[in-house]
Symmetry: C2
């Protein structure tokens, strides 16, 4: 379908990464299912990079060292963000270019507007910029010991479709999976919503104020059947194609007569 | 033009922030020009947050304290990312909600794909999610003592247009300004391009390898007149409307028959 985006190699190298860090259960579970599709290398951070978006590290150098293999797979620990790990993997860290970038499985969803804050999706977006099919997977369960058994079936199905069909250039997939047994998998668009913050103000033992970020997600179109949030709310996994072109073409046409 | 997006107050509160940190010349220059348009408050980080994208801080609490005023304007120093600073400003830090978020003036451009990595644009995108017209400004000069005198005229003109016309919901502007005297201001779309990384590998005094991120920008459509890169390359300032909907609708329609 998108032939130039498919790997030419029989056994592609698949870069597996995440934003929850190298010790996360979701990473190990992702390796467990992806290993059936090709050679794997894992490059992930020592600590959690949750919420790191497409952040890159410019003020200090990056280090990536081989560490104990996850499920027998070559594994590198990086001190960078998810995007840094992908960039390093395509530039000098590995002796073979990855043919795919698979990120996750995130502990917690990255549907709707969360795509812009997500380190999981940052890695997938970066993968697409390196010209290879890339997917971010997230499970609607924030717990450390979440049950990924059903999620892994979704991962296998979606990845199989991408292996067979490729993906168009500079586009990746944002896949979100409900808790429990999904009823199926739906292609969706990003729901229109936002996080309503409720910072919790506290005072430290020295009398100084600090703020903890918290809040809840507000869906502006809860009844829109074609959205990722609607799919998740109805126990379907959602697949949203994500672009790297952030131009708002509608606004561009609306404001074309502005005089500066 | 977009009446509900205009501030109802005669003298709106304008949040000024950036990603180069509170000591950057570009921030002070932005305050200098924006102060003519309303009441200003500055919330920015102590250190550089360059390349922080839309990153948020979830693993430690945020602090924001009043510090010495910049040009007489109330100024807060935050320990968070640009997006954190905007979130805090709308949630408890200030006793009045900002009517506009203006970010910059960044030392260096954020045109084309740089929009996804930019902390300057992270702040503007976050502002738009809080329902107020938001703009990120960047100058094509990375030097610490860059000359912002001509850039400030572009800032004034673009902000005046936004004051008069408003902006549609969940859309902000990415404004990039060439070095020297711009020939004019052009509405554009994001150019299709990417950064080609060239990590520089070094060895520390302890014999361990580390990698410095460097590289160059590659424009895939250098002749496309309607792009921000073309405008900049021809000494025009570029204005690109930026959306928070990252769905790739073209791909969505292309892959609608995929069976999972």
């Amino acid at each position: 379908m998108f032939p130039i985006r498919k790997s030419m190699s029989e056994k592609p190298l698949i870069l597996v990464t995440n934003d929850d860090g190298i010790h996360a259960k979701g990473l190990r579970e992702l390796v467990e299912v992806i290993q059936f599709f090709g050679d794997i290398v894992v490059v992930s951070s020592e600590t959690s990079m949750s919420g790191k978006s497409c952040a890159i590290t410019v003020d200090h150098p990056l280090r990536a060292v081989p560490v104990e293999r996850i499920l027998g797979v070559p594994t590198y620990r990086s001190n960078g963000t998810p995007v840094d790990s992908v960039k390093l993997s395509f530039n000098g860290l590995l002796n073979r270019k990855p043919g795919y970038v698979i990120s996750g499985i995130n502990h917690g969803t990255n549907a709707s507007i969360s795509v812009i804050y997500s380190g999981t999706m940052g890695a997938a977006i970066e993968g697409s910029l390196h010209g290879v099919p890339s997917i971010g997977f997230s499970l609607d369960d924030y717990s450390r010991d979440a049950d990924f058994s059903k999620a892994k079936i979704v991962v296998a199905k979606v990845f199989q479709s991408v292996l067979e069909n490729g993906l168009p250039p500079f586009t990746c997939l944002n896949v979100n999976i409900p808790k429990g047994k999904p009823k199926g998998i739906k292609l969706c668009r990003q729901a229109h919503g936002k996080w309503v913050e409720e910072f919790e103000k506290r005072t430290d033992p020295h009398g100084r104020e600090y703020h903890w970020l918290s809040g809840y997600f507000k869906n502006f179109e809860a009844d829109a059947l074609e959205t990722d949030m609607y799919a998740l709310d109805n126990n379907y996994a959602s697949v949203v194609p994500v672009t790297t072109d952030m131009t708002c073409y509608k606004t561009l046409s609306q404001i074309k007569d502005w005089k500066f």
